[in-house]
């Protein structure tokens, strides 16, 4: 009986670790975007498609072009990276992961000059858009998105792999049931 209990416990732990492993490691996309009004706008970059309507309504521009970008996979939550264009640089310094997301320090440089600095808690489901300085007739925007672009692919990939894993599927069903039952 004890050996059977141990076997059940081992299977359970394995399933939990599988589910947990599948839900870690996020990719943060950070971009320097120039918003402009032009007669024939180019399609919006893939990373910004999910908030295209919001960007257009908020800023009143019809074209959004990425002039500098970086994608960083966060494993420890303490990484730092740079997204830069010819004149601007956005330094992102992740300072730890919390339940709500990642704490990041952002610094916008114009060449060597620090224009703006901010600290934020970046949530996985909530992109961050910072209105930067006016550039010509356009506007510089700083955008940070967790799992941008990769989100759907990862979701489909994860969903497909989860569907083929009955343990993970059962675990998700159990979670859904308990979520429904518990207030």
């Amino acid at each position: 009986m004890h050996s059977r209990l141990l076997l059940i416990a081992a299977c359970f732990a394995l399933a939990i670790s599988t589910v947990s492993a599948a839900e870690t490691a996020h990719i943060v996309w950070s971009g320097l975007v120039i918003a402009e009004n032009v007669q024939q706008p180019t399609p919006i970059p893939e990373e910004l498609t999910r908030m295209e309507q919001t960007l257009k309504e908020l800023f009143g521009y019809n074209q959004f072009q990425v002039i500098g970008q970086s994608s960083k996979a966060l494993k420890t939550g303490d990484e730092d990276w740079l997204a830069s264009s010819k004149f601007f640089a956005l330094h992102v310094d992740a300072q730890g992961e919390s339940d709500a997301g990642y704490t990041v320090n952002l610094k916008l440089y114009k060449e060597q000059e620090l224009l703006l600095e901010t600290d934020a808690k970046l949530s996985k489901r909530s992109p961050l858009v910072i209105k930067g300085p006016q550039v010509g007739n356009g506007q510089l925007l700083l955008v940070l998105v967790v799992d941008a672009g990769n989100e759907q692919a990862q979701h489909h990939r994860r969903h497909a792999s989860d569907q083929s894993n009955p343990v993970v599927t059962a675990w998700r069903h159990l979670r859904r049931v308990i979520h429904d039952v518990l207030p």
Binding site: T54, A100, L115, L116, T118, S123, I130, Q134, V135, H179
Partner: protein, 180 residues
């Protein structure tokens, strides 16, 4: 030569006959009392036979039932060994399988597994809920020497849950700065 006790026992059992019976009854000091005692002994014997006979029959049935159950269980076990443990439980060959102690252990184990699941689900639920929170701006600094009139506001859009840090009055730059 029989002793008096042997003759008395034989008389009670009705085994004395002929001259031996006549001589023994003649030797009894109170024949009426002896007859009464003989009658009581017969009654007691009948009662004991009745009781002991019924119990013997009950035990025979019990053992017969046990043997039949065991034969049936072993036959079933040989047919399907994969479910042997289940069949043993069903037929009760091993009454220890689902004793109170095992039932208690099973219940406690099930409860423990449920509590672990609930704990893990709730633990994952909290990050899930918090991840739905909007990105929070903790603080923002603009160099007053470069942009002395800069103002900052923060808001969120309901549609896409986008957090916006809206600055006004930052230093304007020529269009050359839009280069990649």
């Amino acid at each position: 030569m029989k002793t008096f006790e042997e003759k008395w026992t034989a008389w009670l059992d009705g085994q004395l006959t002929g001259k031996e019976l006549i001589d023994f009854e003649a030797s009894l000091p109170d024949k009426a009392a002896a007859e009464a005692e003989k009658s009581e002994a017969h009654k007691l014997g009948s009662f004991l036979k009745e009781q002991l006979g019924a119990q013997a029959l009950s035990n025979a049935d019990f053992f017969s039932h046990q043997l039949r159950e065991r034969i049936a269980t072993e036959t079933a076990t040989q047919d399907q060994p994969a479910f042997a443990w289940l069949r043993r439980g069903e037929h009760g060959e091993r009454s220890t399988r689902w004793t109170i102690r095992r039932l208690v252990w099973s219940g406690a184990t099930s409860l423990a597994i449920f509590l672990i699941c609930a704990f893990l689900v709730m633990r994952e639920k909290n990050p899930g809920e918090q991840s739905e929170y909007l990105t929070q701006i903790l603080n923002t600094r603009v160099d007053p020497a470069i942009s002395p009139n800069a103002t900052i506001s923060i808001f969120e859009t309901k549609q896409d849950k986008v957090t916006v840090l809206w600055t006004e009055g930052l230093q304007s730059l020529p269009s050359d700065y839009a280069a990649r």
